[in-house]
């Protein structure tokens, strides 16, 4: 690749506009995009809490009981409520974007978008049911 990027030569009379810092507020779908990108922060927080839980588990029953107590405090409940909403938004938006990236052709015909989205939801339901089964059985 020729590493040099090619820009239009400078022409003093042409007007070049700067992109506003608030570009993402100009259009609702830009705001949605930024929100979707921000969900990754909450996914990361979720993962960090899990790691912390693992550490507590390794340190023994007392540390684990402490950890559970900590989780029941209002700041943690609030954090989890907000994170849950963001993670939900993350999952749903990506499910709906999946057909753009995944093009499946069956006997020459492209599989319709709603099938790809539906399969994502089905997999989600199936996995959630599996987790629920493991957690709820006695």
């Amino acid at each position: 690749m020729s590493a040099e990027p090619h820009y239009t030569p400078y022409h003093p009379r042409w007007y070049r506009r700067r992109v506003s810092v608030w570009w993402w507020l100009q259009n609702p779908s830009y705001a949605g995009f930024v929100l979707r990108e921000l969900t990754s922060v909450f996914v990361a927080i979720f993962a960090a809490v899990y790691l912390w839980q693992l550490r507590a588990l390794v340190r023994g029953p007392e540390a684990y009981a402490d950890f559970l107590d900590r989780l029941e405090t209002p700041p943690f409940l609030l954090l989890h409520a907000v994170a849950f909403l963001f993670v939900l938004f993350h999952a749903v938006t990506w499910f709906h974007l999946a057909p753009k990236a995944v093009v499946v052709r069956l006997s020459g015909k492209r599989v319709p978008d709603w099938v790809i989205v539906g399969l994502n939801y089905a997999a989600w339901l199936l996995l959630s049911a599996g987790v629920a089964f493991i957690l709820l059985r006695d």
Binding site: H6, V19, W23, S29, K100, R110
Partner: protein, 247 residues
């Protein structure tokens, strides 16, 4: 039905102004008029100094792309009746330098387009006597959508990434590269890979998805980019596992 509609149009006359301003014109409202008709009315009857590009009036040439009430559109396909009661704001496409009024400079796109070699590349050209390269309807279907691009630049104007990272090769260039990559007659995918997976290629895209929404020809550049991300990632994994296999 209202008799007239106001058009607020960007004016930039570099010999007179240091930055763009707006000028409002009152034009007759007709149900069958598009924004381009209103601009032509202004040019013919109200103010001959207004500059803008247009040609075919039927969504084929891709010259008349502008922002209508903030959304990149072909003005030949944007009906005034959709924006009643007005005023209708008409601005040049975003992120390209403005030459005059509604006319922007597209050199940046033209340079990037040639980089991905948007033509059929053959390792060995077949002699003419052997006849044409045949293609089945399915093989045509694989790339036809991407071949509908008319280079109207609406997707660039809708892409905030292109605005923030001007070196990004952009939606239409990637879709047009895919148009040739997916063509059964083409053998040049490896030559395009370097540009497409390079620093200014597909990985700059964070999938805003607006390019696809504004595309008047349903090319789906966002789809082309995401699909190529899979190809690019697969190629990278292959080159890690089988360094000799990807030559």
């Amino acid at each position: 039905m209202q008799a007239t509609v106001a058009l607020t149009v960007t004016r930039y006359r570099p010999e007179r102004e240091s930055e763009p301003t707006f000028q409002t014109y009152e034009v007759p409202f007709r149900k069958d008029w598009v924004v381009l008709d209103a601009l032509n009315h202004i040019k013919d009857n109200l103010d001959g100094s207004l500059s803008y590009r247009w040609s075919c009036r039927m969504g084929v040439c891709g010259s008349c792309g502008m922002k209508v009430n903030g959304i990149p559109k072909l003005t030949c396909a944007a009906f005034l009746s959709d924006d009643l009661p007005g005023p209708v704001r008409v601005e040049p496409l975003d992120y390209f330098p403005i030459i005059r009024d509604l006319v922007v400079d597209l050199t940046d796109f033209m340079r990037k387009l040639t980089k991905v070699k948007p033509w059929i590349i053959r390792k060995e050209e077949r002699p003419l006597a052997e006849g044409e390269y045949l293609q089945t309807p399915d093989q045509l279907d694989a790339y036809k959508q991407f071949s509908m691009c008319i280079n109207c630049m609406l997707c660039y104007s809708a892409c905030p990434i292109y605005g923030l990272e001007p070196s990004f090769i952009g939606p239409a260039v990637i879709a047009l590269a895919q148009r040739y990559n997916m063509d059964s007659r083409d053998q040049g995918a490896a030559e395009r890979l370097e540009i497409l997976s390079g620093h200014d290629g597909i990985w700059q895209c964070t999938f805003v998805g607006e390019c696809t929404k504004v595309c008047p020809k349903h090319v789906d550049p966002a789809g082309a980019i995401q699909q190529y991300k899979l190809t690019g990632a697969a190629h990278w994994v292959k080159s890690l596992l089988l360094p000799w296999g990807t030559r």
